[in-house]
Structure formats: structure tokens, C-alpha cells
Amino acid sequence: MVTTPTPLEERLRALAGSVPDPELPMITLAELGVLRDVRVTGPGRVEVELTPTYTGCPAVEAMSADVERVLREHGQAEVSVRTVLSPAWSTDDITAEGRRKLAASGIAPPRPGHRAGGPVAVELGPTRHAGAPAPAEPVRCPHCGSADTTLLSRFSSTACKALRRCSVCREPFDHFKEL
């Protein structure tokens, strides 16, 4: 059922959405695109739906606790946070502002238009295998903007990031992988 959110629901949604992501504190849950729904079901009773970025994302529990705390502080006595899987989250759900903030913090944002998911054509450093097609759009270095960057590892500090190095400024950086 689709209903128009009430002014209270809009206010609570803005509050829940402004909670910073526990692992990427430079962006909010709203900017990450993981806040699915905020519904008031009775006086002081609110239900929140979050979706994980990756199925095994360990940050979901911290997100739930943070959202619950913030809404309680704003007068909601009973806050329940549910995790929903469907429709599956995609890096296309990250807002333009979220992308800008990731880049400003030295994390190359995901390239848009990859809702279908899966790896974008990859290259493995200096390689003797020329089979892989060239990626449509290069991952740019968030420090100097160069498109000449190399994949070091498909998985970096978290499952959602890959580790790359810029061939121009030589800085390593994280790339938020397209999902």
C-alpha cells in the first residue's frame, strides 16, 4: 500500500536519514540510499526499514541502533527497525551528494548505471591476459583526477570497496565498487 507520508513521518525520515553511516561517516544513510521507509504506526510508535548494502554487511546492526537512538531522542518511545533485502540495494541508490562526499574524502565513487550488478570489466595489473574488454568508463583517482589507475585488489577495507592505485600521483585509494 502506498500512502502519502504525514508531516511527522517526513520529519522522522529526515532525522533517521541524517544518521551517518558507521563505516563511511562522511555520508548519511539517506545519501547511501539504505533508508527505505519510516512509518508511524501509533502514538510514539514508528517502524523503520533499512536495506543492507551487502548481505553480510556488519554495519547494519550499528545503523539500526543509531536510528533507534535518534528517533527515541525525538520522542518516539517504540522504534522497530527491520532489514529488508528486496529490491536489492544498488550503488545507483547513492545520491549525487553522497558521491560528491565520497570523492571529497578520497574514495572514488561508484560509476553510475550498474544496477544489473556484477563486476565491471576488470584488469589485473600488468598482465599477460589481454582477454578482458576495456571498461566503458575509467575509475578516476579521487586525489588528482587522473583516469590512469590500476586495480590492486578487488576487495579492500570493506566488501563494498576495491583497492586501486593512481599511476600519476602514485597514491593508493579505495573505490566504491559498482553493485
Partner: protein, 238 residues
């Protein structure tokens, strides 16, 4: 147990047990980047396992309080694979299977569709990771080639079980799954200059055994390690 629960248990146990085996590389992987990669893949699998086992019952009880014969994972995922080449080979064989399986489930309309639609995107990265390592090791030095060859041949007899139809997954076309898997694995092995093994894909006594709760010898020791903390300290928390 309903057929849907039996299927959730089978797929959930595959993910849980492989997650544990990959977690064993923590602190021991050949390079730091690979340690992080294997841990991240293990984490994806653990997330899938939690979602699947929660459909059946209490996830902790299922993971930590069942005995060996109650697990329904395929035998491939329980193998120790202590050589890095063997872990790469297993990742290739299993992630290719899981990616094709989740792909079919994501396209169907059943109880596993929401999870599969999410997990198929994660397993695409696992497959890609395994493929790149298979190419690098297979088409690498004489030593890495030989170890990859031994690894693929050693695990080949556990691959037939992947295509034993799992009760509770009526939406899966197992023949098509096998054909897709064979085509993709063959393609990667050939590009890695590795021969596709010609031996049987299952030992006569073992066909479909893991799904019936019959496991190989190393599995009991793995479970002992995985479960001992929970069993020795019931209810312990961080």
C-alpha cells in the same frame, strides 16, 4: 521439515561452511590484500547463510548446536584446501555454481528470490576474483601451474554433487545449471592453460552425500573448531 526449509538449509550450510573455511585464511594468506579479499568473500557468504538459516530457525542454534550428520552442505565446501591454489580452485568451482544457481533463483518467483537477487551480484565478484587468480596461477610459473593442476584435479570428484537436485527448489533447471557451469569452468581453465579433468565428478559412494548429511573426515574437526566456543560457553557475548 518442509521442502523450502530443506532447501534453505542446504544453501545456507553451503554458504556457512565455505565462509568458515575461507575465514581460516585470516592471518595466513600469502599477501595482505588476499587476506582481506578472502575475509570479505567469507563475510558475504556469512550474510547469505544468516538470511537462509533464519528462514529455518534460530541461526545460532543451527550453526553451533547441530552435529555433523545434520549439516546439508555439499562436500566440496568442507574440504580443508590448505594450499592457496586449492582454495582458488574451490572458489572457481563453487562460485561459478553459486552464481548460476542464484541467477536462476533471482529470475524465478519463490521464497529465495529477494536474497538471490542480492547475492547474485556479490557472487559475481567472487567468481571474478577466482577467475583472475586461476589465470594468474595456472598460466604462471611451473610451480604455480602444477599446484593449480593438482588442486583442480583433487577437487573434481566433489563437483558432481553440485548438480544433484535439491528438494524445495522446483524453479531450478539442474541440467541447464550444469551446462552453464561446465561451459564457464572449462573456459577459465583453458585460458589458464589447465586441462579440464577427465576423472569422475563423484566417487561412487559419495554422490549427493553431503546433501544427505554424509560428510568427509575433515568436516568433523572443522565443526569442532567452529562450534567449540559456543558449546563451551553457552550464551557468551562480547
Amino acid at each position: 521439515m518442509s521442502p523450502a526449509h530443506a532447501a534453505a538449509l542446504a544453501l545456507g550450510d553451503d554458504a556457512l561452511i565455505l565462509s568458515h573455511r575461507l575465514g581460516e585464511w585470516a592471518g595466513r594468506a600469502p599477501v595482505l590484500e588476499e587476506e582481506v579479499a578472502l575475509a570479505n568473500i567469507a563475510l558475504d557468504l556469512l550474510g547469505q547463510a544468516r538470511a537462509l538459516l533464519s528462514l529455518v530457525g534460530d541461526e545460532d542454534e543451527l550453526a553451533y548446536l547441530r552435529d555433523e550428520r545434520a549439516f546439508r552442505n555439499v562436500q566440496l565446501v568442507e574440504q580443508p584446501c590448505e594450499d592457496f591454489a586449492a582454495t582458488v580452485a574451490r572458489q572457481l568451482l563453487f562460485s561459478t555454481y553459486q552464481h548460476a544457481l542464484y541467477g536462476q533463483l533471482a529470475g524465478a518467483d519463490g521464497p529465495f528470490t529477494p536474497l538471490a537477487a542480492k547475492a547474485v551480484k556479490e557472487t559475481a565478484y567472487h567468481r571474478d576474483h577466482a577467475e583472475q587468480w586461476t589465470l594468474r596461477l595456472g598460466d604462471g610459473t611451473a610451480e604455480s601451474h602444477e599446484r593449480m593442476r593438482r588442486a583442480v584435479e583433487g577437487l573434481w570428484r566433489f563437483t558432481g554433487e553440485l548438480f544433484q537436485p535439491v528438494e524445495g527448489l522446483p524453479e531450478i533447471d539442474w541440467q541447464a545449471l550444469r551446462a552453464t557451469w561446465t561451459e564457464r569452468v572449462t573456459d577459465v581453465l583453458e585460458r589458464a592453460t589447465l586441462a579440464v579433468p577427465t576423472g569422475p565428478q563423484s566417487a561412487a559412494w559419495a554422490a549427493g552425500a553431503g546433501r544427505q548429511g554424509v560428510h568427509t573426515e575433515p568436516f568433523g574437526r572443522m565443526l569442532a573448531e567452529m562450534q567449540h566456543l559456543h558449546r563451551s560457553h553457552p550464551g557468551a557475548t562480547w
